[in-house]
Amino acid sequence: MAEWNAYYHNEDEEEEQEEGEQSGGDYKVTGRDSLVFLVDASKEMFIKGEDGQPSNFDMTMEVVRSVYTSKIISSHRDLVALVFYGTEQSKNPRNSFKHVYVYHDLDEPGAKRVRDVDGLQGDKGAQLAADTMGSGETSLGDALWCCANLYSDIKLRLSHKRLMIFTCRDDPHGDDSTKDRQARTKASDLKETGVVIDLMHMMKPGGFDVSLFFCDIVSPPEDESELGLQLEPCDKLDDLKKRVRAKEQKKRTMSRLNLCLGKGINVAVGMYATAVMTRKPSAIRLYRETNEPVRSKTRTFHTQTGSLLLPSEIKKAQVYGKKQIVMERDEVDTIKRFDDPGLLLMGFKPMEKLKLHHHIRPAVFLYPEEDEVKGSTCLFSALLMKCREKNVFALCRCISRRNYPPRFVALVPQKEEVDHGKVQITPPGFNAIFLPYADDIRTVDAPQCPVASQMQVNKMKEIVSKLRFKYRSDAFENPVVQQHYRNLEALALDMMAPEDTEDLIMPKVEQIDQRLGPLVQEFKDLVYPNGYNPESKPAAKRKTDTGGGAEKKPKMEVSEDELKAHMQNGTLGKLTVPILKEACKQFGIRTTGTKKQELLDALTARLGS
């Protein structure tokens, strides 16, 4: 049946297509990503900082936990492992390596693993670590070898392999040059099999000297500008988290396209989604008896003969003006086809022509692909520099995939920015902002209202400046998604109740009130006359909403004759959704959808026959 699935799959896809286009985050994944945390468990790691600062080990565990949970939410198919080196005890698949402790094998992270890592945090965690693993001799070579085995034991296809070493010792083997050499050999073996090795070095007294040993272990940075090794060691949790997060996600192109400046001048660029809305994942069906997941198969068959239908036996149709218009399936695709995928430069416009409110979907990021067209990076870079210098954006026609209709995008230049620790915070490249067509802009009549006086304005300004804060785009977690995962976590771990989530997008009312103090009253006195309560009307309305919900619903019934008359005149669409629903019920039509069109179609099908 596999083949049939494949065919009928197609159809589902077609109908979801519009959504796919919208979310923009659909990558083609050919294998799994994998990440190994190789953590130093030597005594030095457990030394607490001054003023009760967490130890390096604590910080590392905190980071590992946050990676685990974020993987669970955003990419649960990735494989993660946690390995300690420099331990007293040993635990690894064949127990062939001493002083290497594989805490978590390379696998998808789950609830239990999160708990495990929680258990390693704080004083108790340090105790637990000492009890189970202890600190002992160090052989990074053995540790790397062990990690290499972890990778090779995996039967799945791995698309991206990364290994992060967390340590605060720049010279782990002391004067033992044999061990140094062995580690170097193993590191280069690993790198040869495609593993990228990163160093997450942490502060220790006297500073961390990368050049002593680790410069030979880690993978050279992508751009060969030695940026990676100039990094300062981390001493703050946030920095470490940021550094790990920047490396932990493999960047993947949504698509690779040619940016065409003119005939024969094609620059290869990759399109990346840097902000994709994370939604609550969809549910999966489980068999009640065994809790095992079931697969769903959708088939199309003929109502009369009952036989399964071939794709060629199905056509597509739409109804307009009481007429059903039928097309072949491939014609439906051809209609959407305008040109081959690519970006076509139309021209340039000054930056101020880019309107703030011309926003229809999240932007994508463009970066050159030297591997596709040699010379792309140079031209791209020149274009970027000049656009910034002249303060212009490039207007392009964008066909992002085959059989996608064109959209226009504004390519806005973005300069590279690094933070104090020389970690990149904004990458260099163009942001492609999708522009609306005439159809996407609605006419809104602006209501007229009196002009505010200068006094009122000034008062408002005071309020505004009292409530200033520094916005950071990564400061707000999605309470809906977080709550959902907390619930799952609680169920998965048999906890009594889910952990509390803090709703970060709730206004901190008390703080605001406190900061504003008498300003609110002063402002009200200026703007509102005595006794005016802007809340009065809506508040009253809400009461009726909740209290009298049942009465509010008017009886909605339409006789069959009326419906038929509506159908004749093609005015069925004038009826409201509740009325249509009621009518469907009346005729015993089961509708799956609640969209108006679906209801209309169902009714028309029923009454027309």
Binding site: E15, S296, Y320, A382
Partner: protein
């Protein structure tokens, strides 16, 4: 305002003078018919609630309620007031022909007014309109002109005229034809006395209805066709969203929000129908659930429960539990979390797919303006918590103050949550000597940008933008409706090519493409670009089937299952064709519809491959030999399938038609 609609009467002259034209020109009749067609088309696809009637005059027969005592002759009500549909379009296409009588256009106007009066009785319309398409070439009696004008005014009926020739406002100097441009067809012979006479009457009517702009409602056929070639843009009435903007616990301001910008989708989805009967009832889709075992044991839907993934764990989580434990909130909300510098909110981090404009409500006597607008001098934006209602998920977003000449509002855009961000790092471009552009290269880019500026100042010092995307109709919708319309009125013919105007609208403006020729040539010289040959890439049949991962496909990546299926036929480039034929033969040895379908897919791939290589011989000869072997191998069923599938498999633009192989 819901249910507001307009009633419109199209009143077309089909009399004999309408078919007169100068040599080489389209007769006014044909032009007028086109105007009507295009107009009705737009109405049908826009699915407005507007109703439409069609009145013809100059017809051989007479059919109207005023037909009495030899009055109102040769005027036919072709269709009464109702929503336009394809039936009407087909009638216009097939039943409206030039006829040989002439009728008084004022009489026709009276019939239209009468029709409107009768058929709109008791119903609510927000606009009544009569559109007259005529060459004014009939002697009209001016007897009741004043009564007619009076009645038009009384009933609030508006008028529009569509003529074969333009009307100039200061025509008192006489209608000497050479003063007008020769570009307008129908002007060749100059105007007849009747036409001049009628023209004066028409102007009189129009100016009495609207003293100032009355004459603006007189159009020419050609102009109208140009303007009507676009399908109507999708219009939606914005819904108001009343709420309160709150700052802290005690300051709240009444506001009302409207969705101002959002990505509009076509209202209708494609439905699947049976290819033979074209009926959707003949198709049934069914979803079954099965265990992931060797037998694919089916289980009933009732025997399944819902669960979620938590990393590697699958957690059963019933709907009821989920509902109880889920995040809940107080509902509708627009609460300020704080204010921040506008520069900290990056344009490229806008998320979601809409922009909401927030105003002070109309009926509010007390201004919320100070809060909404005037802090813009501080270059600050409000960060707010926004929730549409109790059922929807809350968002975090930014409210930008927006000060326009005639209104002030806040623009609300959603901002990302932590989970939404992907912090990718990319190699630096500036610090890399290998890719640093030289001065010559930079100056080449410089002059390219200068030559391609789409915004320029005109002689009056005003900025002119020659490519306004937000005034362009969505080309996908235009094309969609064009094809649907074509299929509806001329079934059985291939889809038409894209309309030239649409094609042109998607290309560089001509001025720009001319101006940038030299700078582009310079760019070509200074920037060497070489496409990297991918040697290692093996062309698999999966790629042939359009699943090339390098070239993104509209269809998303399918399940692993399917991929595997095609990987069976992983084939090295060069031997693709022989491998394919081998595979086809292999598949055909199983006499089963499933395998037939796969063979057909292979044959299609074979054909595409042949076209790509520009060598059709192999394909042709293979197909011929295959055909010869059909009777021997008992593969008639397969051949039938192949031939039936002609249209879906062998697209009409294909050079090699399967038909030529048919017995």
């Amino acid at each position: 305002m819901a249910g507001a609609k307009s009633a419109l009467v199209l009143c077309m002259d089909v009399g004999f003078s309408m078919s007169n034209s100068a040599p080489g020109e389209e007769p006014p009749f044909e032009l007028a018919k086109k105007v009507i067609q295009k107009f009705v088309q737009r109405q049908v696809f826009a699915e407005t609630k507007d109703e439409l009637a069609l009145v013809l005059f100059g017809t051989d027969s007479t059919k109207n309620p005023l037909d009495q005592d030899g009055q109102y002759q040769n005027i036919t009500i072709h269709r009464h007031l109702m929503m336009p549909d394809f039936e009407l379009l087909e009638e216009i296409q097939n039943q409206i022909h030039p006829e040989s009588q002439q009728a008084d256009w004022l009489d026709a106007l009276v019939v239209c007014m009468d029709l409107l009066q009768r058929e709109t009785k008791g119903k609510k319309y927000d606009r009544l309109n009569i559109v007259l398409l005529t060459d004014l070439n009939t002697g009209a009696s001016a007897d009741h002109l004043d009564v007619i004008i009076e009645n038009l005014k009384k009933d609030g009926i508006t008028l529009q005229f569509f003529l074969p020739f333009p009307v100039e406002e200061d025509e008192e100097g006489g209608g000497d034809a050479d003063r007008r441009g020769p570009s307008h067809p129908g002007m060749g012979k100059g105007l007849s006395r009747e036409q001049k006479n009628s023209m004066d009457m028409m102007k009189h009517i129009m100016l009495s209805l609207d003293e100032e702009d009355g004459l603006d409602q007189i159009y020419t056929f050609t102009n109208a066709i140009e303007q009507l070639c676009m399908f109507k843009r999708i219009e939606r009435r914005p819904m108001s969203w009343p709420c309160q903007l709150t700052i802290g616990s005690s300051l709240s301001i009444r506001i009302v929000g409207y969705k101002a910008v959002t990505e509009e989708k076509l209202k209708k989805l494609w439905i699947s129908v049976d290819a033979q009967t074209n009926k959707r009832e003949d198709l049934k889709r069914e979803t079954v659930y099965c265990l992931d075992d060797d037998n694919e044991t089916e289980v009933q839907k009732d025997d399944t429960i819902q669960g979620f993934r938590y990393g590697s764990d699958i957690v059963p989580f019933s709907k009821v539990d989920q509902e109880q434990m889920k995040y809940t909130h107080d509902g509708k909300c627009f609460a300020v979390l704080g204010f921040t510098k506008q520069s900290l909110v990056h344009r490229h981090q806008f998320i979601g797919n809409q922009v909401i404009k927030i105003f002070a409500p109309k009926d509010d006597e007390w201004p919320c303006r100070p809060s909404s607008g005037r802090w813009h001098e501080l270059k600050m934006v409000a960060i707010v918590r926004y929730a549409y209602d109790r059922r929807s998920n809350p968002q975090v977003g930014a409210a930008f103050p927006c000060i326009k000449q005639d209104y002030e509002c806040l623009l609300y855009v959603q901002l990302p949550f932590t989970e939404d961000l992907r912090q990718f790092t990319f190699p630096s471009l500036e610090n890399n000597k290998k890719f640093t552009p030289s001065d010559t290269q930079l100056s080449a880019v410089d002059s390219l940008i200068d030559s391609m500026m789409l915004v320029e100042e005109n002689e009056n010092g005003e900025q002119v933008d020659m490519f306004k995307v937000h005034q362009l109709p969505n080309p996908a919708f235009q094309r969609h409706f064009q094809c649907l319309h074509h299929r509806a009125v001329s079934p059985g013919t291939p889809l038409p090519p894209m309309e030239p105007w649409l094609k042109a609208a998607l290309e560089r403006p001509e001025v720009i493409s001319e101006r940038c020729q030299a700078p582009l040539e310079e760019m070509r010289k200074t920037f060497p670009l070489t496409e990297v040959e991918k040697k290692k890439k093996v062309k698999t049949s999966a790629q042939l089937f359009g699943k090339d991962s390098e070239e993104p496909d509209a269809k998303k990546a399918k399940g692993d299952e399917e991929e595997e299926e095609y990987n069976l036929a992983d084939i090295a480039e060069g031997s693709v064709t022989s491998q394919l034929t081998h595979r086809i033969e292999q598949l055909l040895s199983n006499k089963n519809t499933q395998y037939y379908m796969k063979s057909i897919t292979c044959i299609q791939a074979f054909r595409e491959q042949s076209i790509e290589q520009g060598n059709a011989d192999l394909y042709n000869s293979y197909l011929q030999s295959l055909k010869r072997s059909i009777p021997n191998r008992g593969l008639e069923v397969f051949w039938d399938l192949l031939v039936q599938g002609t249209i879906s498999l062998f697209t009409w633009d294909c050079r090699i038609s399967l038909k030529s192989f048919l017995p």
